[in-house]
Subunit: 674 residues, 2 copies
Amino acid sequence: MAMGLRRLVGGVGMEKHGEEGQTAFEIGVVVPKRVQEQEEGEDNDCLEVLVNEFKKAGLIVDTVVGLHDEFIKLAAPLEVLGRAAVELQLKKRTHIGVDLQFEWDDIDAFIRQPDGSLFSWCERFHCYRHIINGIVNKSYSVIILRSNCKEIYWEPGEPLIRKLESEVIVKEVFPLHDEEKRKQLLRSWALNWRGFTNQPIDKVYSYFGTKIAIYFAFLGMYTKWMLFPAAFGLILQLVDFGSLQLLVLPMFFISIISWAVLFLQFWKRKNSALLARWQISSSVGADSGHKFLEMEWSSFQSPVELIKKWGTDKTKLKEVFQREEWFGRLTRIRNDAVIILSIICLQLPFELAYAHLYEVIQSDLVKFGLTAAYLFAIQYFTKIGGKISVKLVKYENNENTEYRADSLIYKVFGLYFMQSYIGLFYHALLHRNFETLRKVLIQRLIISEVLENLMENSLPYLKYSYRKYKAVRSKRKREKGSSTGRIQLIPRVEKDYLKPAYSASIGEELEDGLFDDFLELALQFGMIMMFACAFPLAFVFAALNNVTEIRADALKLLTMYRRPIPRSAATIGAWLNIFQFLIVMSICTNCALLVCLYDQEGNWNISPGLAAILIMEHVLLLIKFGFSRFVPEEPAWVRANRMKNASQAQDMCSKQLLRSISGEKFFDGSEKNE
Amino acid sequence: MAMGLRRLVGGVGMEKHGEEGQTAFEIGVVVPKRVQEQEEGEDNDCLEVLVNEFKKAGLIVDTVVGLHDEFIKLAAPLEVLGRAAVELQLKKRTHIGVDLQFEWDDIDAFIRQPDGSLFSWCERFHCYRHIINGIVNKSYSVIILRSNCKEIYWEPGEPLIRKLESEVIVKEVFPLHDEEKRKQLLRSWALNWRGFTNQPIDKVYSYFGTKIAIYFAFLGMYTKWMLFPAAFGLILQLVDFGSLQLLVLPMFFISIISWAVLFLQFWKRKNSALLARWQISSSVGADSGHKFLEMEWSSFQSPVELIKKWGTDKTKLKEVFQREEWFGRLTRIRNDAVIILSIICLQLPFELAYAHLYEVIQSDLVKFGLTAAYLFAIQYFTKIGGKISVKLVKYENNENTEYRADSLIYKVFGLYFMQSYIGLFYHALLHRNFETLRKVLIQRLIISEVLENLMENSLPYLKYSYRKYKAVRSKRKREKGSSTGRIQLIPRVEKDYLKPAYSASIGEELEDGLFDDFLELALQFGMIMMFACAFPLAFVFAALNNVTEIRADALKLLTMYRRPIPRSAATIGAWLNIFQFLIVMSICTNCALLVCLYDQEGNWNISPGLAAILIMEHVLLLIKFGFSRFVPEEPAWVRANRMKNASQAQDMCSKQLLRSISGEKFFDGSEKNE
């Protein structure tokens, strides 16, 4: 029996590049276990072919037989990655600070990562994917592969991995945890409770990639800044200001709004400082405000064939671009309108009905039952809403995945916003029932956040445990006939495989697991900001919660999930806008709350005409600040022209520039390769 | 007697480059008339030296003796301008769409202007200035120059023009009108009344430079867009909607706000489309939002010596940058606070007092007297305020002239804002006196705009006439003794010199005459937007006014003033923000107006607590949207680093890139030079 580890190759380049950290096995391929009675004559066994092709591509291959499946672990020496990077025309930061196309000969011109490796995890992953997808049938005839009892026809030019995936022979290709680094991070990050909000962000960046590192940097800064309003809120709760009480609340209100505005502004600064530290360009050929790395790699996919023809017929092309731009924009507006209308017409009445019933019903038992039924129902609704949003977003002609993800975030946040806050508004504004409001707030902040944290940490573990149990049981069942030996250890790679992937609860194809984490943060931010005047203590709860959240999320990422697929988003993207929106909302709601608080007797009657005008004013202010988003400042054709120019120039001088940089020997510690 | 034109040189390169439009005389130097009894032996006459030096620098020189002064007209052949551009390290747009340093050998790589010339007027002016300032004493000893009876010591290394300016021998150096192009523009632009809002913007651009062309493009688009609200306003005035009247006004309100928001958004698009057409880069190495060409030429003047040392001690440098950044920001905040406080504490009571007196006084005669006194007083106050602002701005550490101009614009607009609107608010909101409000609005819109237009067109003409008269008279007086001949024709260059320069009424050193024109537009926009609900017909007046304004301003620029010094600002800069601010203001004021209109009897009483909370809300919204400006999104050191990197890369590959572009022969109609 092929138990334990069976090393096929490797070891050759292992020690040589060991200090580069390149040759740790980083990709796992899951294939079904081979049937034991394998005939020797069958030389076209598809797994053998796959392994041989991997080896031919220069990868270091290691197969591990697990309990239920077999695993092919892949690693790549630096040269192989470099070759893939050249083929991918990867742009990398050079020592002079501009991004140039990678060339293997001018390797010295490129800046190394903080951990000394040449490629970042995100780049490595791209290269791996390129190498694996690049294994095609190069002969002119169909190759017949055999797998257990099936015959597979590998057509010429067809990528092997696609074929095997479609035949369910390759079950999955996923990134592997790097045991050593994982343990190190576990020690210095996830379990370092004494660190408070300090985190080894650079290490997180090199292990998980930009997007996750940015999330944790944001979470850390948010938590640290949260201490100020938390302290203020605590003082408000503990100290009796006597006759000044009436003045203290507005002061608190003003100071937390200023706090929030400053926080977001300083976050943007910190974000750009982080990107500068990691040598990620956030502005080359990108839009105003915040930009995405992705943009440069895959910008303008839609009219790409048009750009090639650029210059032949300029005015016509301009028209095409303009039509394309406005059509895309109108689809987006239509989709947004659909979502907003369905939220208002379907979700709003439902939420109001629940809040009303909750307010009216006396018996606690019925209340409990109602809440349970409600929770069950919204779970279901949210899922449907998410599905609809994902479908709508798919029809939108978004320029790249990050834009598409943003569009989805806005839509789904709309759902959650209504779901989370409308009940609170109902209690606060219509019934002026601050007792219920506070109760619900506490309930949400403490109970639900604790529960959520528990859930999001235990659910993946339970999933993992269940899958492990199933694997062990099926193994045992199969082996019952042949031998009754002890159950063997599960190899680490199979454990990784059994862990759930880090993906969002809605729309796995568009967003990663960070969606849920950011959503939690945004909802919390909205909760504490929008009802700040009604319940200043909320900041304390939020601060406590976030301190634990940092470590809990880190733990979750390091132990409960597979290593996430790295994403290159360089900012928090849509969430920043959502936070900004929540600040504006909180200005309005807090004013309404103050009115309710000061006017408990209801003496301040407001005539309906005045109320209508006030509402109109707020709607118009919303239009003023929201409308501008619908009309981009730069026409698509201008932008396309600019992008084309920039890339053309870069392509033209890239090589010469590289040569001159690498000739100048900007060296900073790492030794020369090759 | 040296009458008429005395051509010294020229004519050599005139015909050869005639089609380039390069050799029209574009710069005039004013020097005092030489005393008639000039001794032949005196070969170091400073004017002769000056003319010879100009010729040595490659310029084509023509001296014209006017009535009162003598004029040296300068033109430069293309080669001379090219040499200066190389020395200036001018960046020019190439055929591949990126800006590269100009090189004379690779002249074919650079895009030509729409009118076929290689350099734009702005670039030519820069080159001229460089050439003229580049005339220094290259010998090692002091050269003694003689002028009439004075001796001037020209120190080694000293620019001749500076020396002569300090000795008041060179009175002025100013750009000359190009007679042919001026006449052409006059016909196709200023006097083309049937064109409505159409203007030959490209021609305006090539004659006046970017900033003025952008102003006229904005004015044209604004006027064209204005037709929609003007039509709506007219309908509102003429048609009686009966019972729907109550609904029509809010509809009007909402539609004009949407109109204004969309207008500004589409203006931004048009602006970037114009820049793309003129091949001006608006985004290379610049900030988010709108950027300045100037930035690239002279960015980071302040810690320039620090940038050079960059890399030696990074953390220390970062600190210096941060200190510099925050210090600058705090000075600006302090200055803004000074201005705002003085506006509130000094100007507000004054304006309110006037408005109150105007409301109280019955007699029309006293009212008239009061208004006259008031107008006299504010003239004076505005001047003082402008002076103070200019002083304050000088201490600010703004990165370049365009930023400094913007900073000044904000401050001065604050003054004008208070002065123009506070009285209107007083009539409208406090006294609910819509009759007076409408009267004042009409008065301002029609009478004052017509008066202003007349003034701004006739004042420079009167100035010019007076100066001409003076020149003629002094000439006559001087000649009384010698001869009593007829008064001769004034040469065109002297006419140009006698015209006033196109400069702002406040702070000539910081802003050009566009300040007044933009201010007029912004005040008009504020007037019609902020009181839209009280007086919808205002849009009609404004539209009519703007249609005439286009031609009147064009006429003014072409005939009344000297040719303005070209500026390279690529957007309308601070004015865009002011327009945005006015939209937000108009949302609030129109709501207040609607309240007053619908509640003529004063039944809608609002309790003071509620009013306080509403005011707080608006202040906080203002903070939310204004605060973010104080904290830039990108730290200065990150930006400096980025700029340094980009320029470094460009410098390194500029030459190779150029060679390869010019090798590829991207030709489009203009013949090969050299």
